[in-house]
Amino acid sequence: MTALLDVRDLTVAFETPRGRTEVVRDVSFELAPGASLGIVGESGSGKSMTSLAVMDLLPPGATRRGSIRLAGTELTTLPPREMRKVRGARVAMIFQDPLSCLNPYYTVGLQISEAYRAHRPRATRREARRAAVEAMERVHIPHAAERVDHYPHQFSGGMRQRVMIAMALSGEPELLIADEPTTALDVTVQKQILDLIAEIRRDTGAGLVMITHDLAVVSEIADDVLVMQHGDVVEQGGAEQVFSRPRHPYTRRLLEAVPRIDDPLVGPGGAR
């Protein structure tokens, strides 16, 4: 079976007046259709750059090398016009901060409708609006028919992230790339959003690449795990294998450092 996403020897570098800096080095991974991959690492590990490179959304000054195939189609050589069609329609991205991705001057309904119409040039405004309400219902935003006319600032952080997910789903993507989608959220809201993402994957069969610093989150959602450090993949494999039999010292250190909510308490001071 063709992989949904097949990344080979991906390298991302920044050209600066003082020379070239590689922030991602020779990253390779494969994602089967409907599967989920967690890319974990600490700050500066290159995990976000990896996901931006897949979407061809690297910041100015950054270059990428290597091969990125989506269901067999090479993305790195696609003309920008074609790549725009891939983004949103076949691959959708969810970011950490929904407020910076939503336009504060337009209602969320208009923004979801626009995303919907971008993939369906023939759709009428009325159809798009109806689709926006349906999309909001699908991500469990209460009173969607009224909320569709509200502005982003009238939503809480969790509800805004639901709006972003509704927009991301408007093109019926095969692949979702989520970059720290719950990092800015409270823990109870985080759980709701993770549950929503799981529900959507069940319903649509979309694949998921989740970028996060949170190992516990990865352990709950990912089939496969990629551990990155300073731009290199230091370990990759099935989630159970990486978590229960980590091979690389860095993975071991990382797993050792995560505070556990259920571990037996040791000593009066607490810390181990």
Binding site: E42, K191, L215, S219, F243, R260, G269
Partner: protein
């Protein structure tokens, strides 16, 4: 029960309100009471908007309470002026979330950590250089870097500078306002370890503000759970975490993502086995 070092009773903080339209003020903190036992850590946990940070700011004398009372070592410190406030600051210090925005970027470590003493018009014991070197060593920084600027340090090291500055005045209470929240997990573990060691060494008391329950469980002996400006549940750590009474506490604990226990058990068994093998070899 050990002696109480800081006690807050019926703290209230209201923002806004009044004006021409006589709007009702927003009550960010609503009747919050707590006690910090000497040499221990009280954690205020809650989600955004719970009022935990505002409570910490009142305890630190950074915002004035609308109502309520704060006592420090038996003395009423709710309202303080100039000189009394300076004395308060030598007994209560704060470590903030973002070390870089809370450290003067143009000042060297030496200037930063001796600043609290200078502001309070106190002599730096043993001279600034020796004092700074000793402090840096205590918080796990290289004393030879005392002339460096904050940006020459990593996030975790910068937070150690923030801790060193707090310790410079030899306080009895240190208020940690999300002090480890912005740090990477491996760095976070080291800073928590440092805070625990310092507490053991000199009977420090912490008011520890955090949203991360797993971190709180590691460091705090006493826990107060806040929601919408109120403490909904408080008590010893074992009680709050192992037998939560309030529905909100249960929801909060239930929402924490968890690494499957059997994966952890397998990993620990493997690491242990390898250590034994290495020792035999």
């Amino acid at each position: 029960m050990s002696e109480t070092v800081m006690r807050a009773t019926g703290l209230v903080k209201e923002f806004g309100g009044g004006g021409l339209r006589r709007r009702r003020p927003f009550r960010a903190v609503d009747d919050v009471s707590f006690a910090i036992p000497r040499g221990q850590t009280l954690a205020l946990v809650g989600e955004s908007g719970s009022g935990k940070s505002t409570t910490a700011r009142m305890a630190a004398h950074l915002v004035e309470p609308t109502a309520g009372r704060i006592e420090l070592e038996g003395e009423d410190v709710t309202r303080l002026r100039a000189e009394a406030l300076a004395r308060f600051r030598s007994r209560v210090q704060v470590v903030f979330q973002d070390p870089f925005s809370s450290l003067n970027p143009r000042h060297s470590v030496e200037q930063i950590v001796t600043a609290p003493l200078r502001y309070q018009g106190r002599r730096v014991p043993g001279g600034e250089r020796a004092f700074t070197r000793a402090l840096m060593e205590r918080v796990g920084l290289d004393p030879d870097h005392s002339r460096r600027l904050p940006r020459q340090f990593s996030g975790g090291q910068a937070q150690r500078i923030g801790i060193a500055r707090a310790l410079a005045v030899d306080p009895s209470v240190v208020i940690c306002d999300e002090a480890v929240s912005a740090l990477d997990v491996s760095v976070q573990a080291q800073v928590i370890e440092l805070l625990v060691r310092l507490q053991a060494e000199q009977q420090l008391s912490y008011l520890f503000i955090a949203h991360d329950l797993a971190v709180v469980r590691q460091i705090a002996q006493q826990v107060a759970v806040m929601s919408q400006g109120r403490v909904v549940e408080s008590g010893p750590r074992e009680q709050v975490f192992d037998a939560p009474q309030h529905e909100y506490t249960r929801a909060l604990l239930g929402a924490v993502p968890r690494i499957p226990a059997e994966w952890d058990a397998a990993r620990r068994a493997m690491v242990e086995q390898q250590t034994v093998q290495e020792e035999m070899a």
